[in-house]
């Protein structure tokens, strides 16, 4: 046998064994390790939300008048909806006092850094602690990073290299100032402020986020990444991301999030909009690890996020991959509007809930164009006293000839105090559609654990192996840098829930 035969194995080992297994061992003793607080002086808006707050944020960002008007309109919309948070999700939480939240907090930095090397050392240390060493990142992994702390983008790496290709990758505040024509054309075309309560709130008060524009025919040579961090107390984070992939372009985008451990619940209400033109492809991956609260359910992030993409052009493709391990509450349904003929939507999700976490997450695939395809793979893992729900819609329009959907939703329960729920909605109005949905619920078998034990593997490691196997189909969708991180997270999140 020659060594070539072993290439696949080596790749597999490189990706999963060396990274995955050793880290599982390492993390056996760790809790939420991103829970530290950075002592950074911040420029903040007072608590509460009114028209003044919206004006304050807009002026802090030096926004043009049309943007302020847009925000105020959204704010009025939100006022109209006030008290009408969506109630249909399988989630229980006390009413949120929107007047007890700070809507703007910016780390005080005298001037905006021109490059990441100029970033405030305290901030840089924060990101280094998170394993996102901005400098190192630049040198080693070739991932362009936009780092957002509380409400503000603190800097974007690789900007120059990207701009040579015509790619715009910057904070959305900068885009509003520098590329108003693109913002005016695309902002809120996929998620209008009227879409839902949290989308309206976000449109009124969003303070930053990432913007990304890939010109026609350009294949973005590196992963683009935004790292979100909530730091300040009593602060909500409302970021807004907009990605536009012009005809025939390609981009892979990564998003990571963490927050300090605090006893209060903090609100995160983001909006992400993706637009894929003809033959364009956007791959959007998230590893969501906001602080989930402590073992008794105290504290943690309320994560209410609206993510939606439109396959506007023919043969375009949008793929969402998410690993959701954090947050006290997750309310999130990354969706795809399949408008172009032959367009494809994908949703791959692993959602882990432990202790008192609640997740209600899934997707919507709206088939409008002809020959559109969608694929949904959802893996839910529940432990402790948590509740984990998959909620998904597959809708096939009357005109959507030859639409195809395949959905697979699997749940794994660890213990008998948690819940796993599956709420798929399948709406088909075209006779040529083929829609298949399958769901299973199971537990880790005693015989599987004994089999591993007999091979010398202890129970904790055995459980981690089995869970990673359960989630593998989704993990395989993640870019390598994230897959490693995600595997670690699975092990940490489920710590102590077995045995």
């Amino acid at each position: 046998m020659n060594s070539e035969t072993f290439e696949p194995v080596r790749q597999e080992l490189g990706k999963e064994v060396d990274a995955g297994l050793s880290t599982i061992e390492k993390t056996v003793l760790s809790d939420y390790k991103y829970g530290f607080i950075t002592d950074i002086e911040a420029d903040e808006a007072p608590k509460g939300l009114n028209e003044g707050t919206v004006r304050f944020i807009s002026s802090k960002k030096n926004e043009p008048e049309w943007m302020l008007e847009w925000r105020l309109k959204a704010f009025r919309q939100w006022q109209k909806m006030n008290g009408h948070e969506p109630k249909w999700a399988n989630l229980k939480f006390p009413p949120i006092d929107y007047q007890d939240i700070k809507y703007y907090s910016a780390p005080k930095q005298k001037i905006k850094a021109n490059s990441l090397d100029e970033v405030d050392p305290e901030l840089r240390k924060t990101f280094e602690k998170l394993g996102i060493s901005l400098n190192e990142q630049k040198r080693l992994t070739g991932v362009a990073v936009d780092a957002v702390i509380d409400s503000i983008s603190i800097g974007t790496s690789f900007k120059e290299q990207l701009s040579e290709l015509g790619i715009i990758f910057c904070s959305i505040s900068e885009a509003i100032r520098e590329h108003p024509e693109l913002i005016k054309k695309y902002l809120s075309t996929v998620v209008p402020p009227t879409d839902n309560y949290f989308a309206a709130l976000n449109a009124a008060v969003f303070s930053d986020g990432s913007f990304c524009y890939i010109p026609k025919g350009v294949r973005c040579p590196m992963e683009l990444s935004t790292y979100f961090r909530i730091n300040a107390e009593n602060t909500g984070q409302f970021e807004r991301t907009l990605i536009i992939a012009e005809e025939g372009s390609y981009v892979s985008y990564l998003e990571g999030c963490t927050a300090p451990m605090r006893d209060e619940n903090q609100l995160h209400a983001a909006v992400v909009e993706l637009i894929a033109m003809e033959d364009a492809e956007i791959k959007y991956s998230t590893v969501q690890n906001w602080y989930p609260g402590d073992k008794n359910g105290l504290g943690g992030i309320y994560n209410f996020v609206t993510k939606r993409g439109i396959c506007a052009g023919n043969r375009s493709k949008i793929s969402w991959t998410q690993v959701e391990t954090g947050s006290a509450i997750t309310w999130k349904y990354p969706s795809v509007i399949l408008k172009g003929d032959y367009s494809t939507g994908e949703f791959y999700s692993v959602a882990v809930t432990n202790n008192y976490q609640q997740a209600d997450t899934g997707t919507k695939m709206l088939h409008i164009g002809k020959h559109t395809k969608s694929r949904i793979v959802s893996k839910g893992i529940s432990a402790g006293h948590s509740n984990n729900s998959y909620r998904g819609l597959v809708h096939v329009n009357r005109q959507a000839e030859n639409a195809r959907n395949y959905s697979q939703c699997d749940s794994l329960l660890l213990g008998d105090k948690c819940g796993a729920h599956t709420f798929p909605y399948i709406e088909v109005k075209n006779a040529s559609a083929v829609v298949e949905h399958e769901a299973t619920t199971s537990k880790i078998g005693e015989d599987q654990i004994f089999y591993c034990n007999q091979r010398g593997i202890n129970t904790e490691t055995a459980v981690a192996l089995i869970i990673n196997g359960f989630a593998r189909e989704v993990m395989n969708q993640l870019p390598m840098e994230f897959a490693v991180e995600a595997q670690k997270l699975l092990a940490i999140s489920l710590e102590g829930s077995v045995g």
Binding site: A420, P424, Y425, I426, E427, A431, S432, T441
Partner: protein, 444 residues
Amino acid sequence: MNAVEYYKDQLEQRVLNDSGSGSGLISLRKKAILDFTRWGIPTMKNEEWKYTRITPLLDKLPELPKNGDKQIPFTVQDFQKRQLPGHELANELVFVNGLFNSDLSKLISKEIQVLPIDKMQENGMQEILENHFDHSSKYLQDGIHALNTAFLKDGIFIRVGEDLKVKKPIYIYHITDARASNILSQPRSLVLLEKNAGLQIVETFLALGQPQNLSTESFSNHVIEIVLEKDASLEYYKIQNDELTNGQVSSCHIRQLGKSLVHTVVISLEGGMIRNNLNVVMESERCEAHLYGLYFQHGKTHIDNHTIVDNRKPGCFSNELYKGVLAGESTGVFNGKIFVRQEAQKTNAYQSNKNILLSGKASVNSKPQLEIFADDVKCSHGCTVGQLDDEAFFYLESRGIPKTKARALLVGAFASDIIEHIRISPIREWVEKLLAKRLEIENR
């Protein structure tokens, strides 16, 4: 006048008139009137009614049958024309406009005891009434169910005593005679199978309107509750082959109080607007239930099947298979819920919903749901929407079978694995004939 006010006034008056009999029932009905006025007629905003609209039908204010009035035009001859195959060897219970009609009914099995619900109390059955009547309202919390309870008139209680296995089935006919006016009929029954008892029930629905005047409409809002004690076994069949002018909500609520066996088949072939609720509540260890359904709609008809299997105790088994064929401009809805409670370890629960769309204007909405709170369980659900298998088509055509015929054969084959679960031969053969006839029509 809106439907809620309209019915509320009449119901209050009726409760007042009936207040002499059975105080327990009166307070239940009063509470139901309150619930009805509070909840109103369910609209599409109600998650459980997301795809089914009944408000336009009830806004036409079909009349409640008059109190104690049995002088309806429906005659013995009318009935004889509509008896189901095999009736010679069956017990027959007949409701006309929701009121039990003892003249048309016949009991040939001595094991069966039948009694009006409002006579249960005076016959020493207070306890049964309290324990079992209207348990369904815990699961069907909406105005339409409350409306049935609030109306409660001439409902019947059917009891099969310990160790009695009834050999001959009960056919229950629900006749809605709307030849004179638009009628709202609301039949209600409660069935108790005591320890080790066995019973087969067939329910069917027939609406009469003036053939020349299709605008005369009717609505039936039916509730049957069935309770099984230990080792009891139930076969429940519902055959819906009704007029297009009839709208109906039909609820069957089954409780398994001991280790027992439930087998249900719901066949919906015709009817203007049908909403079926079928609940199976497993309140004991090692209960077993098999649920089958077939819906074959055409024209502008609408069918909605809601099912709940609630596993509350360990070691239960359930298997559910619902199949749908949607032609014309019809719409089909399937909403199947499986609950597995914390205590219900070692549950095995399976559910499958398969749909075929035969026309470009038909649509289907399917919502299979799992809600699991126990870890040591095996549960799965599956749902498909698609067309007849191209390869099978080609295979049949290559054997010289013309396309239309091939289609009929394939749809027939698709339906047959539901129909074969009807264990009363005359009924099964009848349904097969109805289906064959329908396939001919669809393929013309």
